[in-house]
């Protein structure tokens, strides 16, 4: 728990330093740049249900070229705005892995859909008399779930002394996993209704397996299931309806 808390604080610091740097006008006082832009526009009215934003994670377009791990994730999200304060979110995607261990030569393959639901809170508090802004500084939590099949090939049992060896292959094993995420990110309205931004998140596995059972090496939507949790990063482009 303490570890998770540390991650939250760390991710907040990252975000805050990013914004602070971004706002620093060259050689001048820090200037609220986001709000300046908005001054020409009318005041954004606050209703219970304000808007809905549809997003696509474009990070895989870059990372799939850079990464050599054989893992891929494609995902999108729908996020609503309630009172411009609460942002319930539904994320869904498809992910997979084809990984051969360099130490054991076991090959693990999987692919499957996943979903996450959660809620974000907007941490930007507009100063009094300042024009409201559409930019968001979000932090929140998610619950993730995936039901998927996986395969393990080339599981070798070798007995060096007795000089025997046998190879096993396991096809279409099924698993389902729940995990918990803490997420933080920013969204900036670059053109009217078009948003760009990123989300950094830390994921912790909730589902456990009995020791000795096959624990999937990679879980769609979660990533490598190493027992220590995962960091991940989404770069999103979205449209607000």
């Amino acid at each position: 728990m303490q570890k998770i808390f540390k991650y939250i604080i760390f991710s907040f610091m990252l975000v805050v330093s990013g914004i602070a740097n971004a706002q620093q006008a060259p050689g001048g006082e820090p200037k609220p740049k986001f709000q300046d832009k908005k001054q020409k526009q009318d005041t954004v009215k606050t209703f219970f249900f304000n808007s809905i934003r549809v997003e696509l994670d474009v990070a895989p377009l870059v990372t799939s070229f850079l990464s050599s791990t054989g893992n891929y994730t494609y995902e999108g999200a729908i996020q609503a705005s309630l009172k411009n304060k609460y942002y319930p979110i539904f994320e869904a995607g498809f992910a997979g892995s084809d990984h051969t261990s360099t130490t054991s030569d076991i090959r693990y393959t999987t692919s499957g859909p996943f979903g996450r639901i959660g809620i974000d809170f907007n941490l930007i508090k507009p100063a009094k008399n300042a024009k409201p802004t559409n930019n968001l500084f979000l932090a929140g939590v998610r619950l993730g779930y995936s039901n998927f099949n996986y395969n393990l090939y080339n599981v070798v049992i070798t007995d060096d002394y007795w000089g025997v060896t046998q190879t096993y292959n396991y096809d279409n094993l099924n698993s389902h996993k729940f995990w918990f995420e803490v997420a933080a990110g920013i969204r900036v309205e670059i053109i009217k209704n078009i948003f760009m931004g990123w989300t950094a998140r830390h994921k912790s596995m909730i589902s456990k397996v009995d020791s000795g059972d096959f624990d999937p090496y990679y879980v769609p939507g979660f990533g490598v299931n190493s027992g220590t949790g995962n960091w991940s990063f989404n770069y999103c482009i979205g449209y607000k309806f």
Binding site: L66, S101, I157, D159, W198, F233
Partner: protein, 160 residues
């Protein structure tokens, strides 16, 4: 544009954090531990008392295997035996000083025990029965049925 640069920095840091080297940090060696005891009959009630026995010289090899496990090893109070992972019986020829005995361990392997993709599977046998000739060995008994990587006394061999 400056904002963009920071985003890219963070993206690169994020990617760098993802690379890791694989290694198996777990103990995958599974051997049965056998301890030697000297049985001395108690004069009071006829029951036997056990004293740890130090065998001066011992040689051990698997039956029909050329390589030896112990070759004239000195002052042993215990030995480790690898059980054939793909069989349910392992036979050994043991020479204590100059007396030879044959010992058979019968066991079953429920299923392979998966550690991780880095380590693969290990086999954890459960010992059912032990049979031996009785030249040097007086008798044998099973103490712990399950053989696991952490060493525990599985079998006791008694000598009068």
């Amino acid at each position: 544009m400056k904002k963009f640069r920071y985003l890219i920095y963070i993206l690169i840091i994020g990617l760098a954090a993802c690379t890791s080297t694989e290694e198996c940090g777990e103990d995958t060696e599974v051997t049965a531990q056998i301890n030697f005891y000297q049985k001395t009959p108690s004069l009071i009630d006829g029951s036997d008392s056990l004293i740890t026995l130090t065998v001066d010289s011992i040689s051990v090899r698997g039956l029909s295997v050329d390589s030896v496990l112990y070759n004239n090893s000195k002052s042993k109070t215990y030995i480790y035996l690898p059980l054939n992972k793909l069989a349910e019986q392992s036979d050994y020829i043991m020479t204590f000083n100059s007396t030879t005995d044959t010992i058979s361990i019968l066991y079953h392997n429920d299923s392979s025990y998966y550690l991780s993709i880095e380590c693969g599977c290990i086999v954890l046998p459960t010992i059912d029965e032990i049979v031996s000739t009785n030249h040097y060995i007086d008798s044998v008994s099973i103490i712990t049925n399950t053989v696991i990587p952490t060493n525990a006394e599985n079998i006791q061999i008694y000598h009068f």
